[in-house]
């Protein structure tokens, strides 16, 4: 009884929740950074995710036309560089003019960018879904055999292993970057008071660029991981993730990248676990309310602890 509970719970609810959470977490890092440093909610963030997965697909396709079979993760490297450039270009031409305007301007501008990027992708690649990876991912046999020796069989496909590992690696690099380099500190200063940062000799524009580089890279990673998991790409995939990612960023505390990670994991787990038959046979709340789970957590968080789990900013 207990064992079968664990088996089901871990394999069908916990691990999927964790994977989803990792994707949310990576996306939320970019959101929390732009929110904290540039002080606006970037609605175009999901589109950068989406574009990077399209670019990855395109790179893999082009390579294969030269007879080169690339793993999508390899294809993601040039794609994430392109996404970073995309983020920088968007910032230069569409956000920078509003740097000294009220926040709302840049929020609206980012909403406009969301439309522009998405329709560009739709015009170029069409609105149809594109297969990213074909077929069905079966659980990793080695882990399955190995863990079943201990009566704790774990079913986890390779794609999920790479998503989990990838997220951990990115997180570690990121940790180093923010806590042990000057850039991390500069970001905090700019986020606090850009004018003062400027007259303290900090080149604010460079810090802003660094923010986009980091945020763009994390978005690219999140986009590719999402495509790896769902195995297809389509033009609204970024927007679908946007609100839960906002929720994750707020949950963790704005301007707190590690908060965003924690928030992402919590939202991901909560969404998946909401369908678990905690009482009786059916899900506790109808899966029709699934996205409500993330929003409810977020709204409750905003009300009872607006600074988030990790004491982020409250403007």
């Amino acid at each position: 009884m207990w064992e079968s509970f664990w088996f089901e719970f871990i394999n069908f609810y916990f691990i999927p929740g964790l994977v989803l959470g990792c994707i949310y977490a990576l996306g939320a890092i970019g959101i929390t950074l732009t929110f904290g440093i540039l002080r606006f909610a970037n609605f175009a963030h999901g589109e950068i995710m989406m574009t990077s997965s399209y670019l990855t697909w395109e790179f893999v396709l082009v390579a294969s036309s030269f007879g080169l079979i690339l793993h999508p993760i390899i294809g993601a490297i040039p794609a994430s560089i392109c996404s970073i450039f995309l983020a920088l270009i968007v910032d230069r031409f569409f956000y920078k003019p509003f740097r000294n305007s009220p926040t709302i301007m840049i929020v609206i501008a980012s909403f406009g960018m969301m439309l522009i990027i998405r329709s560009l992708v739709q015009v170029i690649w069409g609105p149809n879904q594109i297969t990213f990876v074909k077929g069905i991912a079966k659980p990793n046999q080695f882990i399955k055999d190995f863990t079943s020796n201990f009566d704790m069989m774990i079913l986890i496909p390779n794609k999920h292993i790479s998503i989990l590992l990838g997220t951990i690696i990115i997180m570690l690099v990121f940790n180093y970057l923010l806590s042990s380099t000057k850039i991390g500190k500069g970001m905090r200063a700019v986020s606090d008071n850009p004018n003062l940062a400027e007259v303290s000799g900090i080149n604010v524009e460079n810090i802003v660029k660094a923010t986009w580089v980091v945020g763009g890279f994390c978005a690219a990673a999140a986009g590719v991981f999402l495509a790896l998991d769902t195995q297809f790409i389509e033009s609204t995939m970024g927007f679908r993730m946007l609100l839960p990612m906002f929720a994750a960023a707020i949950l963790g505390g704005i301007g707190r990248p590690f908060g965003a990670v924690a928030g992402g994991l919590i939202i991901g787990l909560a969404e998946e676990l909401s369908a678990y038959p905690w009482l009786g046979n059916g899900p506790v709340i109808s899966p029709g309310y699934k996205s409500g789970v993330a929003f409810s957590i977020m709204v409750l968080m905003l009300i009872f602890r607006p600074s988030g789990l990790f004491r982020g900013k409250v403007f």
Partner: protein, 239 residues
């Protein structure tokens, strides 16, 4: 141009947007000098400092740091060229700790600064106790000290102070003026804006009185303090 001039402003015209605040202002700071700018509220004193830093559009006139023209240079580059600046308001990073604020002051410097930090903490013992506290939780006066300390870390060529003693207790006010003199003796020229005009003029080599965005009086600190007209109109002397 005087060979020893560190900072010189020449017939500067500047303002915010359309409105012109400064009308052909000329000011200079020579080697080893403390120079004060005094004047009524809204005369344009802070505006001058902002113009030097480059956060303002300059319509005409020139600003030289030593021999390089610095109008139109980005603020962060002006700081890199050696201009230290303490704004009048919003002069600390409120969500950073006291120590991190000091580190931000040292942004443009690469080498290890622990000694320098120690020195500053000795100068402002209040801050030492509050190293880890967020600057936003400091009292008004403590903030002012932090802002000063932050600017002093840089080995600047010239230091611009906008009302460094506003809100400080008499004891600290004296200490700040002392400090200013001490720093100055070590070879750093200082341009400050002050409303504690009497005390400021006492320690200044030269002073400018600014009214409505134009130079009104110029002279040595002693001259200005003793000028009855200046005293009555700007120093708050009674009678």
């Amino acid at each position: 141009m005087n060979f020893d001039t560190i900072l010189s402003i020449n017939k500067l015209v500047a303002g915010y947007g359309e409105t012109e605040i400064l009308h052909k202002i000329s000011i200079s700071v020579n080697k080893n000098e403390i120079v004060s700018i005094i004047g009524p509220n809204g005369a344009g004193k802070s505006t001058i400092l902002k113009a030097i830093l480059g956060t303002l559009n300059i319509k005409s006139g020139e600003i030289f740091l030593k021999k390089t023209k610095i109008n139109g240079v980005k603020p962060s580059d002006v700081v890199k060229k050696g201009v230290g600046y303490v704004p009048q308001t919003d002069n600390v990073f409120v969500s950073l700790s006291v120590h991190e604020n000091l580190e931000m002051g040292a942004w443009t410097i690469e080498n290890n600064l622990n000694d320098k930090f120690e020195e500053l903490y000795n100068l402002f013992p209040d801050l030492k106790d509050k190293k880890k506290q967020l600057a936003g939780q400091l009292s008004g006066g403590q903030r002012q000290m932090l802002a000063m300390a932050k600017a002093l870390i840089l080995d600047a060529k010239v230091l611009l102070l906008d009302e460094p003693t506003a809100g400080l207790s008499p004891k600290y006010r004296l200490e700040i003026f002392d400090t200013i003199q001490r720093i100055n003796k070590s070879g750093l020229p200082i341009l400050m804006v002050e409303q504690n005009a009497k005390q400021a003029l006492q320690i200044s080599h030269r002073g400018y009185v600014l009214v409505d965005g134009s130079n009104r009086y110029t002279g040595t600190g002693a001259e200005l303090s003793s000028d009855p007209e200046v005293a009555r109109m700007f120093l708050g002397s009674r009678g």
